[in-house]
């Protein structure tokens, strides 16, 4: 077994446990013939395309740009108490049903704050805050929780084992667990039983130069949300943050969230 592992297979470390049983010899002989055929086809296709790089060259930078830091600025003074345009848009865009119980997935929610001394109430949307030092990523035992190069924090459901450590670690209650089997999910927002999920900042839209669904919906509702690259000082969001006092929920924890609130 160990001798089979020390083959030329790349990335095959010493702890490798490649199953190559000696008893599979007769099958192997057949497979080799078949594989030789498919390899020939693969090489032919390659020669036709005459491209060896993994992805076609394009004018757009491929992949998440590490120079960017996507963020949100929410002007709470413009966020009406009864308005749920952002929540509705997220639900429609990403295919999660309106929660009927506390265990139902909830990517974004409207939270009402009340100052007990003065009686002042404020309403604001709370979703994944896309922290720069995300505690969910720290605790994840399988590296399913990760931060993209451009600051968007995501769950890789291919790796998620559903342990829910990240849900415990998140001070914003931003993550949900899928308890029931799902069907007919949105193609751009895969979600399934036994995995944790949260706001993706609509990566599928952001990667194509569009704003997240909540921001787009808010633009025709209260115009309270602003989306952009906070690392670029010339961007609208960076200028807005520089021009007025903003705050971050539980900023004292040092997670450096990417979502900021004004007039909170």
């Amino acid at each position: 077994m160990t001798s089979a592992c020390s083959s030329t297979r790349p990335g095959c470390g010493s702890a490798c446990t490649c199953p190559t049983p000696a008893t599979a010899e007769p099958v192997d002989a057949e497979r080799r013939g078949f594989l030789a055929g498919s390899a020939a086809v693969a090489v032919t296709t390659l020669a036709g395309g005459a491209m060896l790089t993994l992805w076609p060259e394009s004018s757009e930078a491929a992949g998440a740009d590490p120079k960017k830091r996507w963020g949100l600025l929410i002007d709470v003074s413009k966020c009406a108490d009864g308005c749920t345009a952002c929540v509705d848009a997220c639900s429609t865009e990403n295919g999660w049903a309106k929660p009927t119980s506390q265990t139902d997935p909830q990517w974004i929610r409207k939270v009402t704050l009340r100052n007990p001394t003065t009686g002042v109430t404020k309403s604001a949307p709370v979703m994944c805050q896309h922290c720069d030092n995300p505690p969910c990523v720290d605790v994840c035992p399988t590296t399913a929780s990760f931060k993209r190069a451009d600051g968007i924090v995501l769950v890789d459901k291919h790796r998620c084992i559903g342990c829910r450590y990240c849900m415990m670690a998140c001070p914003y209650k931003a993550r949900s667990f899928v308890h029931a089997p799902l069907e007919d999910q949105k193609p751009h927002a895969p979600r399934g039983l036994g995995t944790v999920e949260a706001c993706t900042l609509c990566t599928h839209r952001v990667d194509r130069g569009r704003a997240p669904a909540c921001v787009e919906a808010c633009a025709s509702a209260g115009r309270a949300m602003l989306f952009g690259d906070v690392a670029d000082p010339a961007s609208e969001i960076a200028e807005a943050i520089a021009a007025r006092p903003t705050t971050r929920i539980r900023g004292d924890l040092g997670f450096d969230p990417g979502v900021r609130y004004a007039e909170l």
Binding site: S7, T8, R9, P10, R32, F34, L35, A36, G37, S38, A39, V41, A42, V43, T45, L46, G48, G49, A50, M51, L52, T53, L54, W55, P56, S58, E60, A62, G63, A64, F146, R148, A149, D150, I152, L154, D156, K157, H158, P181, L182, E183, D184, Q185, K186, P187, H188, P190, R191, G192, L193, G194, T195, T203, H204, D207, R208
Partner: protein, 170 residues
């Protein structure tokens, strides 16, 4: 007496032979039909990502490669992906709606049932196109428009080749 016994022997031999043949034939039929060959829905148009022989062998690696590139690296420059596969390989039922993976007629399931390989893709991914979107099999070759990018095809084929050096070497 002697004649009668020899006649009986001949009869016995005949019965044994015919019976044995019948049993053999019956067993043969049973072996052939116990696992039915998959009725894989025929694809229309030209092969879009790679030749069927390559696809049969390398599609798991291509999909795994694509998922890391898209999700973790955020690179959506490839025009091919699972959503595209699902869109063109959708199988419609009698009512004209695409069947989900819960149906044995589903494109992926038809073969995976036969091969006894369990796939987890559809625990999270939609197993059929959104209503009104994607091209079902009767959508014709137009279904492939936008997918047959020669660069992406070559890259995927090259990737598939690098992933299996032990096989290409033989």
């Amino acid at each position: 007496m002697a004649r009668r016994s020899s006649l009986l022997t001949v009869l016995l031999v005949l019965v044994t032979l015919v019976g044995g043949a019948l049993v053999g034939a019956a067993t043969g039929i049973a072996l052939e039909t116990s696992v039915a060959h998959p009725a894989v829905p025929k694809a229309l148009g030209a092969p879009c990502v790679a030749e069927p022989a390559v696809m049969r062998r390398a599609h798991p690696d291509m999909l795994k490669h694509g998922r890391d590139v898209v999700l973790r690296a955020g690179d959506r420059s490839s025009p091919v992906g699972l959503t595209g596969c699902i869109g063109c390989h959708a199988v419609k039922d009698e009512t004209g709606t695409a069947v989900s993976v819960s149906s044995p007629r589903h494109f992926c399931r038809s073969c995976h049932d036969y091969a006894a390989v369990k796939i987890d893709c559809f625990e999270c991914h939609a197993s059929r196109p959104e209503p009104g979107k994607g091209a079902a099999l009767d959508g014709g070759p137009a279904a492939f428009v936008g997918l047959a990018d020669p660069h992406a095809v070559a890259d995927l084929a090259a990737f598939a080749a690098t992933r299996r050096p032990e096989e290409t070497a033989r």
